[in-house]
Symmetry: C2
Subunit: 483 residues, 2 copies
């Protein structure tokens, strides 16, 4: 690590490299992952009433090969993530063209920051006792760096999804310790929490600037500063900010949101199995139920739950209760059960294949879709991974395709660019409702092949289903028992 | 039972007793409980475009003392249920004044019916193996009566909440058997299913005529007949009907709705406990989360779940799977867990009192609210019952009050008409958010008494809370840890 420079020097050095108007505030974004990069772009596009840019944004990542490559990409004017959102691409280009966004692996950048937004990862792992836990080491180190470098009066906004209690029991004391070592008051840096509600896909950028924000501060002053900052970045007239009384409250709000979602998904799984068994169409039933405003959030059965958030966030409240508040026996049975049920869901599709084909050993299966969400290339914690590993372990040969994924990182697997011909397969599993699949001319694609068709995620249109059934394909579907 | 009369005779006899225009259809409502009575009133108020009444309605109940008293009430022009809904009262009076609603315990009435709506109870009990089950005996007998009496071509609409599969495996065969004994084709009576979504309270009547209806038939003809009938009673222009492909599907829709609701209530319970433990206000958090349209159905922590539906309906799908479809191991873990969690919820309030008072043995507790819902007199399966029984078993002296309940049937207990003075109580539990409690002048009511105040159900307004806290009352609340 660099020695902390006095701020005037650092700022001057920085300005020398990247000359900018002096009236702008500097915002660092710590961590250039999916959220951090998009957030950096949003802040770099914020303008005042007369259209002047408000912030100089510096994306900061670790000097690892991965971090360096993201930093290099940003500085070369290349977006360091794959996206289908044109608006995000354009906003990135605007920021680059106007020199409001740069990136570095040099933590000295934090010395320049009026605001640092924390967007680093905090993964859930299994502890030695089998309980879920988080490893705070890297997170604590990152907070230390902020405490060692940021100026008095500057603001830290934690955006990472964390166990409730983290701002109070990890962020605050870690920064306080670093400040004390600098001879500064332990509350010299303001600490706030405000979580993102980013939704990957075509409206990625909008889900940052056009969405309700919840925030809080460890002090009133911190909450005030966070509110002032967010008001410049988010369209708060249409999407008013919501201030909570404690950082633990807003941390809880975030994990509650995702726990609620995950539980609703897991809840419906049992009904999907029931529908398959008794010969009804649960999608039809759910359409009827959803008409009620009190039931509009009800979910559909499907292939499984993926992504970085829903697979782990429902465990964070329990981790916070046990590890940060020292509460025994608060096990959040619905939330933790939801994570288990959702993780096992892709195995249900394997089971249906087993029932329909007798055994899947030696059978050739075509899996269509490996990302975790429709029309998105993100394969993190994708249910397809569980499906593929389970089916291959049982001796099936699985060929995968995804219109948005050429190389499947998690499986280290190159995927074909075209949808494979169905002739050599015993079964075809439609796993992700990508537009390309829903627009397929299935008659043409099938030719004279008649594999078992498993619609594992309500992918096929009614017309596609009817066509394949009439062509004589054996049909099965998650959540549907009437074919 | 009467011998089935030939239909012409019966109709003539009936007309002789209650002369009516001959162009109206006759509708029987089987079972004059909360739902049946309201449904009978709604049908008896249905009119055509020029304002002519469409149906003669006959409410039919069993010749038990309870059934007879309801029948006598209707025929004497007295509404046989307590309600705060003025519109329901007026609609009843309109029906009585226009002679479109009568009642009887005589099953011959079904001979006159073009349509019979089934609104009899089907309770969930614990079987010998500890598993939840329903006793179909009474229900089967009721279906037999319809098969023995109703005319060929007439329609049965099952409105009772039943285990999925009931129309197919109980109603249809039972009616078919009775028809065969009459020498009639086994499908001579049309069988449909359409569930109600009645909501007790001030909009009871509207929740019948102004609400989306789901329906289905065991045959297309039955579904068509049901659709034609419902279109005359429900305001289907604003609230379109939704037809499902199987009676099992619409039976499932009903129990799914209530299972979803019950699970969402149970889910939030763990978060309420967490909030109490870590010192945050979960209501504030939930307000922030509910802003998202995808999270608008999230529930609040509270005192418990009561009423006839949410306490049992989540068990019906499992019962249907096991007993009607013979599926093993389909245990609906979320839905059945929800019933358990919700049933135990009032004990949480007892626990909070125990924590705050040390022990509740010998303590005097005032419980405000014994009905299961605000501004409603219905005490069926009220959480207050669980609270009272638990607290009394631990040696507490519990005095109860409810502005809408003078005699608490389930506890065989007369309640005071005024809210008791707080002076002699160690704790006051606000359990039901009746308007009378939310409009209390708490300063005046408290006087110089300073009992522990437990807001168990988000009853108190912020002002009331603040007033009592400032007055020096010890405060506690379900779902709130920051007092």
């Amino acid at each position: 690590m660099h020695d902390p420079l006095d701020n005037g020097t650092a700022r001057a050095i920085w300005r020398g490299q990247f000359p900018r108007p002096a009236n702008r505030q500097t915002v660092c974004v710590q961590g250039l992952g999916f959220v951090g990069t998009a957030m950096a772009i949003a802040v770099a596009n914020a303008r005042d009433e007369i259209g002047e840019f408000l912030f100089d944004v510096i994306g900061v990542d670790l000097p690892t090969p991965e971090g360096q490559s993201k930093v290099d990409a940003v500085n070369a004017g290349k977006l360091p993530l794959a996206t289908t959102d044109e608006e995000l691409v354009q906003a990135f280009e605007t920021a680059v063209a106007n020199n409001t966004l740069t990136a570095t692996t040099d933590p000295c950048a934090y010395q320049l920051a009026d605001v640092t937004i924390v967007d680093i990862h905090l993964d859930v792992i299994r502890g030695e006792d089998g309980q879920p836990t988080v490893r705070f080491d890297g997170f604590r180190k990152a907070m230390s760096v902020l405490g060692q470098t940021m100026r008095p009066g500057s603001l830290v906004v934690v955006e990472t999804t964390v166990p409730p209690g983290t701002c109070e029991y990890v962020v605050r004391p870690t920064i306080a310790e670093a400040l004390q070592e600098r001879g500064l008051p332990e509350d010299a840096i303001l600490i706030a929490h405000s979580y993102e509600r980013v939704m990957p896909g075509k409206e990625y950028y909008r889900s940052i600037v056009n969405f309700w924000r919840v925030f809080s501060g460890t002090t009133e002053a911190a909450a005030d500063a966070c509110e002032a900052f967010l008001s410049k970045v988010i369209h708060t007239k249409e999407y008013p900010l919501r201030r909570l009384h404690a950082t633990t409250a807003s941390e809880t709000a975030k994990v509650l949101e995702n726990s609620y979602r995950a539980t609703n998904i897991a809840f419906i799984e049992e009904w999907g199995q029931f529908a398959e068994s008794v010969g009804i169409d649960l999608f039809e039933v759910i359409d009827a139920v959803r008409v009620r405003p009190t039931h509009s959030n009800i979910r559909q059965p499907g292939f499984g739950v993926g992504g970085y958030c829903l697979t782990k966030d429902p465990l964070l409240a329990g981790i916070g209760a046990r590890e940060l508040f020292g509460i025994e026996g608060m096990d959040f049975p619905f939330s933790s059960r939801a994570v288990e049920v959702n993780a096992a869901m892709p195995k249900r599709s394997v089971e249906i294949l087993r029932q329909q084909l007798g055994s899947i050993h030696g059978k050739r299966i075509l899996l269509l879709g490996v990302s975790y969400r429709q029309d998105v290339a993100d394969t993190r914690y994708s249910p397809s991974e569980v499906f593929v590993n389970t089916a291959r372990a049982e001796g099936a040969e699985v060929v995968c395709h995804d219109p948005l994924v050429a190389f499947w990182t998690e499986q280290m697997e190159h995927l074909p660019s075209e949808i494979p011909e169905p002739h050599t397969f015993d079964a075809v599993v439609f796993a992700v409702p990508h537009r390309e699949y829903q627009e397929m001319d299935v008659t043409r694609w099938l030719g004279d092949a008649r594999p078992l068709i498993l619609d594992a995620n309500n992918v096929l249109t009614e017309e596609q289903r009817l066509t394949m059934r009439q062509a004589g394909c054996p049909m099965a579907a998650v959540g549907r028992g009437n074919h």
